[in-house]
Symmetry: C2
Amino acid sequence: MHINDLDTPTLIADLDVLERNISGMANHCSEIGIPLRAHTKTHKVPEIAKLQVDAGSQGITCQKLGEAEVMVDAGIDDILIPYNIVGKHKLQRLTDLVKRAKIIVALDSEETAKGISHQATADGCVIPVIVELDTGSRRCGVGSPQDAHRLAQKVVEMQGVDFQGVMTYPSNVNAKPFISETVDLFRKDGIPVNIISGGGTGSEAASKEIGCTETRSGSYVYEGMTRIGNSEMLSHERCVLRVLVTVVSTPTPDRIIIDGGQKTFASYPPTPYGHIIEHPDAKIYGMSVEHGHVDVSECSHRFRVGERLSVIPLHQGMTSNLHDELVGVRGHTVETKWQIAGRGKVK
Amino acid sequence: MHINDLDTPTLIADLDVLERNISGMANHCSEIGIPLRAHTKTHKVPEIAKLQVDAGSQGITCQKLGEAEVMVDAGIDDILIPYNIVGKHKLQRLTDLVKRAKIIVALDSEETAKGISHQATADGCVIPVIVELDTGSRRCGVGSPQDAHRLAQKVVEMQGVDFQGVMTYPSNVNAKPFISETVDLFRKDGIPVNIISGGGTGSEAASKEIGCTETRSGSYVYEGMTRIGNSEMLSHERCVLRVLVTVVSTPTPDRIIIDGGQKTFASYPPTPYGHIIEHPDAKIYGMSVEHGHVDVSECSHRFRVGERLSVIPLHQGMTSNLHDELVGVRGHTVETKWQIAGRGKVK
């Protein structure tokens, strides 16, 4: 099928760029000497996770339990969930999942650890756990090596859990003293540190430098080796996703309207919300719910209703999260269609 | 089922408030003397559309063809699509749909009209159409009464279409001269003006004043009778939606982390992204993809991991668009579960 036979708006992935991004990161981590555990939150597509594993990713990372369930259903068998699993529903689902695959979970409190311990003990399984360190992100995580040590001392005594080490996000050279001190405290006390997990696309070398045993990178899969911060970095050589849209209105000489708005693109600032490959001078300056508003005053091209355009969205992972299906294309040929099976699995 | 038996994060609707908002708008339009054609883009739930029709809405509005298909599948038989239908796939779907229900479509160009005309003629059906006027929104729409007249003159001559009148958005008293002049031009020329459709929650009286035959209001269903502009207006008396969340981390005395972030809430600025009903002094100051970051420095309450909170999202319609299911509750009792069947139907 030719891409012109697709209805619009449709989310498409340039498979050549996807493969290049996946192998590029695998090679980068291999050269640095840090194992990669690809974070799949960006794409949520089991088939892409398998491409990452095939390229050398040692297991994957899922941000939510529901995403991990989708990946295990698809045959992935080694998953880190860097998220506090809390509440009776999730604890039951966690032990169900642990019986089907190797699942490691992070936690940052005694309450979370106790919940996992009790459920695992009741269900007759043992769950590998690591402690999350807050080395600067000010989100979850214990705030000091001493707090990490105190929590680890309690967790290693709990039944049903297998203490494995620590994690942080994002990896940053400033975190080195925090991690080193934590590891020293653990080792002096005989607490295992088999895993030191770092993360963040572009932070692979930092993960290695601060002593991590693995690095979790996610957004590289769509955005290339460094995070995209602004629309100037949206190039078709590094970005995988495009939204195929149709011009539905040409109301004035300087404005056209495309058939994708806030529910097709993750359209929070900064503008422009994406890069129109065919006409870089056309600027998406605004979006209503189902319309994209494009300033074409700098374009010599005369746009017509029915014309199709390819837009690289500024927020690739967040835009993907609005769609149910991803169409893989090579050149102008549709090669595959993937369900974004993890979309909406926020539980 | 008690709401405490729901896993989190879960999108819930307060059915008492929903019913009050629906009947309130129906009564408001009845008192003003303007027929309501409820816009369903806000909720995308067929069961809610039926409640709106049962309360007196004279048909509904769907922003995209895919949403209209969902509503027709559910038995709704009178739908306005205020959107240019362009391209071979959609034109075929449009004529398929026209054979199943009364579908009116808006257009703003000869190209769009021709496409509809050709497809309808080929498929042996006649499609009611109206012309979209740009009375100030600077999106789609013809820019002057003269342009509207010129386009209408062409459309009334086309086969397969049944010219019915005009639409605008949003209704505004400043649009009165534009609409009056357009109607005069049409009538002098014998062009039908059976429909003058206005729109926008809070613009019902303006629709009446500028001569509309119907008004399209949408966000009232979740947000009450006037649009919510900031978090100060988020009250549980007027807002239908809540996201039930769990506290998953209490890393410092002044910060807690909840299990919903950017993929659970539409989290573009302004902050705070929502109102925590149980603790109004707790402020959601930031969100990462799957975490909500809450400042609890002003709260005397000591939060614990596992505690559940109810958050009224600032952007109700956009938040709803991230979820597959809406749980209807009355008090603390789960009364129904609805699929958000129109979510993702951006084509």
